[in-house]
């Protein structure tokens, strides 16, 4: 009761404050000497610590300013500050400020105030930045946000937790590297991945298409996706919980604490995901079987019954921030765990009821960031991680399942996917990444980037006979990466050029196990190793013709090293070794344009456009060779060339910062570019569109923010997303005319609603996904979830 009283008192006080007789609005206009409006500065009331951006016409407005004498500062992006005194009394004061500059002159030496998003997107690379923003309050997965981005296509084999393939501008699979805070996601394992980390834990996702900046040190052939985890700036604790269709429950909590005196900082977060994925599947590949004669019984829809996914994890970083000797110094620990049931084989025709996989990660890390280290202009950024990963696959029951969940027959090999297995692997990964940047002058920087990574994997399968367990190979891999870049801002900062050179070295090792004799007598181990070195280079250029018109261009010679399996082969999978395998390489180029935002004077409408055209000329792609006729073994070979061209474009419309509409479309025209096979035989599909690959996607998302909805100071957001993926053939185009296998077009509509209560502490969200229950496929014969509803509550505890 007492608490309630306090609360209502608080509420009363708050409402009193807002209607306090002595408060009013402050408006004004900032112009240069020639009376031209300035719209790129920030206006700041020092005493109240209140800031606002200038509008297009140079005007600004502060609400609810108590009467008093204030210092109003105009901050120009190069950190020049112009201060004026303001005596504010009554309901409305005005303060117009004429800056002692003219726009022409200013343009020469300013760095336009840009958000981190704009800064990255306009640095010259073909980049997109997703800020999780309000989506974090909805029940939206990180991968869904990525999929809505121009030029990016996510192909998922099922619901939450299922396999995902990332495609950037037509290149996919191993060509696309995923990183978390600049560390290869491999170090974290699948339990801490884009699949499990909720948007609420993510500050932003950076997508680099084709050309990867050297600070993300990896052999990314077709681009990279870097997830930047959230770092709060004020003490806070935020928790959320959501639940919905298919037995889905998701929760997360983030907390940040910094002691103002000592700089001691704690940054912690945790997440939990659980889903049964019990969505319905139907169609061609989904049937049951008459136990007496094998007749296929069709026409029913079935709920997935063995597809549960659970992941949870936590992360704590302790250290100091914004202290003399470090901008950030943290020692951290991370753990995560995953359990994933596997419902079917390569297609929905082969149903499983017992196979599952687990994975666990423990990771320790150290972060050190310091600007102006020792000398002004020298910035250092070091990140070291050590991780332990365990993976298990459990498949020991040979029962063969029907889609109705009943058992009919046994698999002949002892397990569902093949031989019975309890396969496990233990991985240790060490990695150190260091980025050093030095300001040679006010407008040029030199950078050195270094990455060392070392991975060792031990494999075992207790289900195998002891004699065969001895043959399981241990593997190891190490990578060295050194990158140099030179960044220059010229022509009064209009032209930004970054040149980079990358040196890569990768060594892989495996143990070849053999017996001393046919009758046993123990095993002997021989280490076999393979090493590759490569050079890559590229550049990124950005030229701002005006504040509303920027052109960016980038190009890189990118590479991707062969993996362990590809070089050393694998007896169990009939893969022969190929020590002569070369890295894949690709010449990638992008040309992009940013226009706007254009906002006519006195208008609330604003519109902006960005677009990118690209070319990827990829050679020596590694793929399975032609198997030998008799033994049916094959090796991996540098076989295919692929050329991919296309564009992606995005149109952004904003009305009074209330309605935001973003529409984008991407076309990737990836073509098979090998004329003859290894035997000199021609491919008829030379220059044909790549088989089984999406090539046209479009997205439309709209959000309407309604301030003061229902309650004063509350915020209601309504969102809508439409996603379209054009149909594509599973096999090569141009052959066959009837009954062709294809992946049908996807037409998905999602709706969302969030409501933030006036105290800004609680937000509730509702989401309806795939509202027309469209049967959606990213891959042939692998159905994705249908209509689903979710609710979510986010509580800002502190």
């Amino acid at each position: 009761m007492k608490k309630l009283l306090q609360c209502s008192t608080l509420f009363l006080l708050a409402s009193t404050a807002s209607t306090f007789a002595g408060s009013g609005i402050v408006t004004g206009k900032i112009t240069d000497k020639s009376n031209q409006a300035i719209d790129w500065a920030t206006v700041y009331i020092e005493e109240l610590k209140k800031a606002t951006y200038l509008n297009e016409d140079g005007t600004y407005r502060f609400d609810s300013i108590p009467s008093g004498i204030y210092t109003v500062a105009v901050i120009i992006p190069d950190n020049t500050t112009v201060k004026h005194k303001l005596v504010h009394q009554g309901e409305h004061s005005t303060l117009d400020i004429v800056l002692d500059v003219n726009v022409g002159k200013l343009n020469d030496h300013i760095v336009w105030a840009r958000s981190k998003k704009a800064e990255i997107e306009m640095a010259g690379y073909a980049a997109n930045v997703i800020e999780t923003g309000r989506a974090a309050l909805q029940n939206i997965q990180t991968n869904e946000l990525l999929d809505r981005t121009a030029g990016v296509r996510i192909r998922q084999s099922g619901g939450l937790g299922s396999n995902i393939e990332y495609n950037i501008n037509g290149l996919s699979g191993n060509a696309v590297r995923i990183l978390i805070d600049g560390v290869p996601v491999h170090n974290y394992g699948p339990s801490f991945s884009l699949n499990s980390i909720p948007p609420a834990l993510i500050e932003r996702v950076e997508i680099y298409k084709g050309v990867t900046p050297p600070h993300l040190s990896d052999d990314a052939l077709g681009g990279a996706i870097n997830i930047v985890l959230k770092k709060a700036s004020t003490n806070s604790i935020v928790a959320s919980y959501g639940a919905g269709s298919f037995g889905t429950h998701q929760g997360n909590i983030t907390g940040f604490y910094r002691n103002q005196q000592s700089g001691f900082t704690v940054n912690a977060s945790g997440f939990y995901n659980y889903t049964d994925n019990s969505y319905k599947v139907w169609g061609d590949k989904v049937y049951t079987t008459d136990p007496s004669n094998g007749k296929i019984l069709r026409g029913n829809k079935y709920k997935r019954f063995h597809d549960a996914y659970r992941s949870y994890g936590g992360k704590v970083e302790l250290g100091f921030s914004q202290v003399k000797w470090a901008d950030e110094f943290y020692v951290g620990a991370l753990f995560s765990d995953m359990y994933n049931e596997i419902q079917h084989g390569a297609t929905m025709e082969v149903v499983y009821g017992n196979r599952f996989a687990t994975q666990g990660t423990q990771l320790a890390n150290l972060v050190y960031k310091k600007r102006n280290l020792f000398v002004p202009g020298l910035d250092l950024n070091v990140l070291a991680t050590y991780s332990w990963l365990q993976r298990d696959v459990v498949d020991t029951i040979a029962d063969r399942y029907n889609w109705d969940g009943s058992v009919l027959g046994k698999w002949a090999n002892g397990g569902e996917q093949g031989k019975a297995t309890l396969q496990n692997s233990n991985e240790h990964t060490r990695s150190v990444r260091a980025n050093l940047r030095y300001a040679v002058s006010q407008s040029s920087y030199l950078g050195v980037n270094y990455l060392f990574a070392d991975l060792s994997r031990k494999m075992d399968d207790p289900y195998l006979p002891q004699a065969e367990r001895e043959f399981l190979r241990d593997r190891s891999l190490h990578k060295n990466f050194v990158g140099f870049h030179y960044e220059q801002h010229a022509l009064h900062n209009k032209l930004t050029t970054t040149l980079f050179y990358k040196y890569y070295q990768q060594g892989i090792k495996t143990t070849d196990v053999s017996r001393k004799g046919p009758g046993g007598g123990g095993t002997q181990y021989q280490e076999i190793a393979h090493s590759d070195q490569e050079n890559g280079f590229g550049l990124a250029v950005s030229y701002a013709f005006s504040r509303k018109f920027t052109l960016v261009a980038s190009a890189e010679r990118a590479i991707r090293f062969p993996e362990n399996n590809e070089v050393f082969g694998n007896n169990a999978d009939n893969i022969l070794p190929n020590p002569n395998l070369k890295p894949e390489h690709s010449l990638n180029g992008n040309l992009g344009i940013f226009l706007g935002p254009f906002k006519p004077a006195n208008s609330q409408h604003s519109i902006g456009f960005s677009g990118n055209v690209f070319v990827r000329n990829t050679k020596d792609m590694i793929r399975q060779g032609v198997p030998s006729a008799i033994s049916e073994t094959f090796s991996f070979e540098n076989l295919n060339n692929v050329v991919s061209t296309g564009f992606d474009a995005e149109l952004k419309y904003d009305y009074a910062r209330k309605l935001l509409v973003i529409a984008n479309a991407s076309l990737f025209n990836a073509r098979f570019n090998t004329q003859f096979d290894a035997n000199g035989s021609p491919f008829f599909y030379y220059r044909s569109r790549l088989r089984n690959a999406p090539y046209f996607t479009a997205n439309l998302s709209a959000r309407y923010d309604w301030q003061n909805a229902i309650q004063h100071k509350a915020l209601l957001s309504l969102s809508y997303n439409f996603a379209y993926v054009h149909e594509f053939l599973r096999d090569w185009e141009g052959v066959g005319g009837a009954n062709l296998d294809f992946v049908p077009a996807q037409v998905l509509h999602d709706l969302g609603l969030t409501y933030t209560f006036p105290n800004k502490k609680i937000t509730i969200g509702f989401d309806a996904k795939n509202i027309f229950d469209h049967q959606a496929f990213d891959n042939w014969a692998l159905q994705k979830p249908g209509r689903a509803f979710f609710g979510k509550i986010t509580y800002r505890i502190l």
Partner: protein, 427 residues
């Protein structure tokens, strides 16, 4: 006005002309003999590793005899998760397809062109225990479905003893597309071979003779020192025998007649055929040699020796053969002195199994028949689709009566064979 009239009358003329030509066509069709069964020309695209897709066109004899057959935007894609293993009914009315990778069998009624209608299907996974079985059409009513699983056996000291092979056999009723019960047994083995790591890894291409079913056998050799599969050097040719009624009671028959050694399970094309007298002839092949073996009354005929490669005068290997009738057959082969099965030096030989003569047919060079599956016998003739690498080919209509190397007529033009695309036969 007059212009319009002119146009109208021109149109009328054209229509009339069309009508006349249409009538003509109809008349022609009526005059054709009622022998026009459909011939299914099959074309495959994809890597030969068992992930190739099959496209079919059901064509009349006229259509395969002249003109051009193209699969460019034409042809029925036979549904398959990895690849389709197809057979046709002998009258060409139905196509039976095994969905390799999906573990189901399907029956399609052929309506001509690229029109095929699904009329029956069964899921074989629960019976055969795999989504990747093999099958062979035995006759118009039955197909046999089979799978082999292997397991390495060790003694108490973890020393490798031998590899145990288990057969899974069942049959599919092709009339109503139902699956029968499964027979499951350990495949008999030769202890001396087993001690060397030799085991049966595959059985296929079964045939029936006198109440027994005979399955061709392929062997592999395991090396316990390196845990790898090593080159198998055959010392004989072996066939697995079971009772037809129960698909059980297994035994092995073997031969080394005339030095014949090798696998008898073949690859894609047929391996064993019964002649009009009830004897079965089966090819076996090993490094540089092709032997035709004769099975009479349940065992190999140790007096019948037909070394086809010797008669060809070159070291040669094959994947099987086709029988036309009256002792005449055709054997696709490759010259193993010039390369392996993946090299482009395949040919076709006419064989007379009674007189043991071989005629090397005069065919274009650069043929690759490793994936070739089927040729059809029609009206006493043998029909194949043969196209060289990178060049157009033809439907070949072989005349078994002719002993000439050019004893064939060329039918319709077919598109070239290339990398990962090839003609797999006429059904």
């Amino acid at each position: 006005m007059s212009y319009n009239l002119l146009k109208l009358s021109a149109l009328a003329l054209i229509t009339a002309g069309l009508a006349i030509s249409c009538t003509k066509d109809d008349d022609n069709k009526k005059n054709e003999p009622e022998t026009d069964r459909l011939f299914h020309v099959a074309y495959a695209v994809g890597p030969a590793s068992g992930n190739a897709q099959t496209y079919l066109q059901g064509l009349s004899f006229d259509e395969i005899s002249s003109g051009t057959i193209s699969f460019e935007n034409r042809g029925f894609q036979v549904p398959a998760t990895r690849t389709a293993f197809i057979f046709s009914s002998s009258d060409g009315k139905y196509i039976y397809a095994l969905n390799y990778g999906g573990g189901s069998v399907h029956k399609y009624e052929a309506k001509g062109g690229q029109n095929y209608t699904l009329i029956g299907e069964a899921n074989v996974q629960p019976f055969i225990g795999t989504a990747n079985p093999r099958w062979t059409k035995l006759d118009e009513k039955t197909a046999l479905l089979h799978n082999v699983t292997t397991e390495k056996l060790y003694d108490e000291n973890n020393n490798y003893v031998r590899t145990k092979s288990t057969a899974w056999l069942t049959r599919v009723n092709l009339e109503d597309m139902t699956v029968g019960t499964v027979s499951n047994f350990e495949i008999p083995y030769d202890p001396a071979e087993a001690a060397q790591g030799i085991y049966v890894f595959r059985i296929d291409k079964p045939f029936v003779q006198n109440g027994k079913v005979y399955y061709g056998v392929g062997k592999q050799k395991y090396d316990p020192v390196t845990d790898g599969t090593v080159t198998m050097n055959y010392t004989n040719a072996v066939t697995l025998v079971v009772d037809e009624a129960t698909l059980d009671n297994p035994s092995l028959i073997s031969t080394n007649v005339g030095g014949a050694v090798g696998a008898t399970n073949g690859y894609r094309m047929p391996v064993a055929h019964a002649d009009e007298r009830g004897d079965v002839y089966q090819t076996t092949t090993s490094s540089g040699a092709i032997h035709l073996l004769k099975i009479s009354n349940g065992s190999y005929d140790e007096t019948y020796v037909f070394n086809i490669s010797e008669k060809l005068g070159i070291p040669a290997q094959t994947n099987g053969w086709f029988y036309v009738g009256n002792g005449i057959g055709y054997v696709p082969y490759f010259n193993s002195a010039l390369g392996g099965a993946d090299s482009y030096n395949w040919g076709v030989a006419r064989v007379d199994i009674y007189n043991k003569t071989v005629t090397k047919m005069e065919l274009p060079g650069n043929l690759w028949l490793q994936q070739y599956q089927y040729g059809v016998v029609y009206d006493g003739k043998f029909i194949m689709s043969l196209s060289p690498i990178g060049a157009e080919g033809n439907i070949y209509i072989f005349d078994p009566k002719s002993t000439s190397p050019t004893g064939y007529t060329k039918g319709a033009i077919i598109q070239s064979t290339g990398a990962e695309n090839y003609h797999i036969g006429v059904y």
